[in-house]
Amino acid sequence: MERGLRSYVLRRLGFAALMLVGVSMILFAIMRLAPGGPEAVLIGGEFSAEAAAQIRQRLGLDRPLALQYVTWAGAAVRGDLGRSFKTGDPVASLIADRLGPTLQLTGGALLFAVVVAVPLGVLAAVRRGTAWDTLGSAVALFGVSFPSFWLGIMLILLFSDALPWLPPSGLAEYGREGDLLSRARHAVLPTLTLGLIQMAAVMRFTRSSLLEVLRQDYVRTARAKGLADARVVWRHALRNALIPVVTVVGLSLPTLVGGAVLTETVFAWPGIGRLAVGAVFERDYPVIMGVNLIVGAVVIAANLLTDLAYTVIDPRISYQ
């Protein structure tokens, strides 16, 4: 790594650490300002003021807010994210258990989106104004128009009920978690749900970016040299057109995680999104903090990697 790039990365990492501290402080404050508390969920219908007070004391919620934050942050720096208020499990192990399914879902959705959307975008740009272009735009519009929870349920009704081809929910049948085919069949609908939404943006950006590049002089020169159309588009134009697409893909990571929250809930997918939703409804503060810290770190890392990816795609870009 060249020196300029190294100091750039270090600077960014420094900012990232500060950002995480800021995010954790804001989140901690917001959570405690929100009405309600974990005791109502922990006790359920047999709630009593006495039991509630006892729980608050046991969980340390009766201490001053600043002290609670400092205790949490001190432990977090040492790698201890605390224990879930609800089940008493270590937060780190809850997140570790859920990370695999979420990565599988978001990774699969991203891969699906890119693999399908880039060629569709190219086709729409090259065949601008034709039926292909209209079809591509229609697919994109379809993807951005439907919320994931609705799309997910519609896909379940279509592919698990009307056409009983795929299982409606879960990661795999019990006892068949190691069976790749079973896992793949369970993954089809959630991956499609999340991927379709993502695909729309990638497709639209590929199309518009490629159209712009195709108008440039060097493309005309390449064509004038007698290069085949496919070679001009795929080798010369697309590479430059991909820079904004990479930005969109990088910036879409938070959206993917956000989308995964709903998709995971609909498909009973045991990932981080569902963990987060459950924790918010149950006011499981340590889990909310832990999940957000990890997701925040992933998003910051993704943004950094996106910036670094520019240098690979376009050697003219360099960081000082």
Binding site: A34, P35, G36, P38, E39, A40, V41, L42, I43, G44, G45, E46, F47, S48, A49, I55, R58, T87, G88, D89, L94, D97, G100, L103, Q104, G107, G108, L111, F112, I153, I156, S160, D161, L163, P164, W165, L166, P167, P168, S169, G170, E173, Y174, L180, L181, R183, A184, R185, A187, V188, T191, V266, A268, P270, R274, L275, G278, F281, E282, R283
Partner: protein, 542 residues
């Protein structure tokens, strides 16, 4: 990541094969739940999902029959002293814990002393108010240990005999010794442990018909048949509780074969499910009820004419028909029609909007310019808070609002999430509320805490106060003679209905859907009562 790519590639490449997902094996049962458990320790657990899941793992001393009477489970028999202050239980012999250790009377004493221990966080403690030494053992400041008391409330007579001593005769004492609130836990695994946080709460060991196998948080809880179960090995091999939060998806799983039993499907789906080949619907009464209430001490709710008018203003049968598709019993007070304390002579107020308007006029309300009634320059306008996540309650609140509007009362709906809602309830920060509240199969624990005036800081958050009601609740609490309790509760129900402190709406029924071929369910009319019978459920394949 490599695995993700491989899987993603498989997903993309996979042609839709047309295969149905593998149906759950006949001798297992997959139970679909809408949420995860909190704890699998019956002393600590108090939420509905935990109750359902810990039930098959633990046995209690007694269990309920279909008429809500108690019958022996871990206890073989019991004797009550003449003064009603001593209960001596003979325990079953040869019962073992899932780890092979013998179950003895010491486990029983350990369990209930743990419930009484103020260091242990459990709302179940209040159920044992009648035990000798209860105030001393549960005191906030310097609680006593059992050995410091002159009279031991729970005495281990021998390995298979345990004796409970009460400070007053209690009609509810036997009724509170049943699952899921009173499962017995093993002393040898928990002595000296902090019960609030013990690893046991996540990996339980009981004496029940099913042994705990695994709990994958948010995904599933698995248990297998206990071959050495004292009541005979259950017919099902395994119970797999799958957690599927979305009701529509849960129904699809049932139809697709991924789930064999689910509770409370969206009620609009029940008719379709009844028509679905291979599925059957079971319906059970419940003790919990939904009501429209208000702060009794606020103007104008402190006027009995206004309260009665609100009762006349709402057509409850139409709510049962429209919102619950008929799956509810009309409520006439605190007790469900399946409770022995229910008095059929007490009738709810008839829907009579003209009478409601007349009563409101009598109370001094006159129509205002915008159609809302006005008294002393103030419009009859208030907020109704409710739990946003309960669709039945939400729809009920909307219809209540509409009926109130028809008689000139302006109600604003304020949906809140459950933690916020409960906190506001117990702080008495509300005007009106629509709530579905848990109840107990015995009348005392909830009737007393909801309606007795000593409980304003507890469940009597609506601040109801009636000296005669206090008296009747005390009478019913401090006798073990059923006829006396029945008489006291009958009068209590009459006074309550005359007082009209709520619009008692309905007792929602519990609707279960299961696969044809599973037989042996017994629908006990209390919360989640059907789960008690899982030990007797078998697969017939028909």
């Amino acid at each position: 990541m490599i695995q993700s790519i491989v899987l993603a590639a498989l997903v993309v490449a996979l042609t839709l094969t047309g295969l149905r997902p593998a149906a759950a094996a006949g001798r297992d049962m997959v139970v679909g739940l809408s949420g995860d458990a909190t704890s699998l320790n019956p002393i600590i657990a108090t939420d509905s999902m935990s109750y359902i899941v810990e039930w098959p793992v633990f046995d209690s001393l007694l269990e309920l029959d279909q008429s809500l009477n108690v019958k022996p489970l871990l206890a073989e028999s019991w004797e009550t002293s003449r003064d009603g202050l001593t209960y001596t239980f003979k325990l079953k012999k040869g019962v073992t814990w899932h780890d092979g250790k013998p179950f003895t009377a010491r486990d029983v004493a350990f369990t209930f002393y743990s419930v009484l221990d103020p260091k242990v966080t459990t709302p179940h403690r209040a159920y044992f108010d009648a035990l000798a030494g209860f105030p001393e053992l549960t005191a906030k400041e310097n609680p006593k240990r059992p050995e410091e008391l002159a009279v031991r409330p729970i005495e281990v007579v021998d390995d298979h005999t345990v004796r409970f001593r009460l400070r007053y005769p209690s009609g509810s004492f036997l009724a509170v010794l049943v699952n899921p609130r009173a499962g017995i836990v093993p002393e040898h695994l928990l002595k000296g442990a902090d019960l609030n946080t013990a690893e046991f709460n996540r990996k339980p060991v009981g004496t029940g018909p099913f042994k705990f196998v695994e709990w994958r948080r948010g995904e599933r809880i698995v248990m297998e048949a206990n071959d050495k179960y004292h009541g005979g090995r259950p017919a099902l091999n395994r119970l797999i509780f799958r957690i599927i939060p979305d009701g529509v998806v849960l129904v699809q799983e049932l139809r697709a074969g991924g789930v064999d039993l689910m509770e409370n499907p969206p009620l609009t789906e029940v008719a379709r499910l009844k028509q679905t080949a291979g599925l059957k619907v079971l319906v059970a009464d419940n003790t919990s009820y939904t009501y429209f209430g208000w702060r009794q001490d606020l103007v104008p709710f402190n006027d009995v004419r206004v309260r009665r008018a609100l009762n006349h203003a709402i057509d409850v049968p139409s709510i049962i028909k429209e919102v619950l598709q008929g799956y509810a019993a009309l409520s006439a007070g605190q007790f469900s029609p399946s409770s022995w304390a229910y008095d059929a002579s007490v009738k709810p107020y008839a829907y009579d909007p003209a009478r409601a308007k007349a009563l409101l006029a009598e109370a001094g309300f006159k129509p205002g310019a915008d159609g809302v009634l006005v008294k002393d320059g103030k419009p009859f306008s208030f907020s109704i808070r409710h739990d946003v996540a309960n669709p039945t309650v939400k729809d009920t609140a909307v219809i209540v609002q509409e009926y109130l509007k028809r008689v000139g009362v302006d109600a604003r709906l304020e949906p809140l999430d459950w933690p916020t809602f409960v906190k506001k309830l117990f702080a008495s920060e509300f005007e009106g509320i629509v709530v579905n509240w848990t109840n107990h199969h015995d009348p005392d624990p909830f009737a007393y805490t909801i309606w007795h005036s000593s409980q304003w800081k507890g469940r009597n958050f609506a601040h109801y106060k009636n000296a005669r009601v206090d008296e009747l609740l005390e009478q019913a609490r401090r006798t073990a003679v059923v006829a006396e309790r029945k008489k006291a509760y009958a009068e209590f129900s009459k006074v309550l209905m005359e007082d009209a402190p709520y619009v008692f709406l309905y007792f929602p029924q519990q609707v279960y859907v299961t696969r044809q071929g599973y037989e042996g369910f017994v629908a006990i009319p209390t919360f989640a009562g059907v789960y008690q019978s899982l030990k007797a459920v078998r697969w017939t394949g028909k």
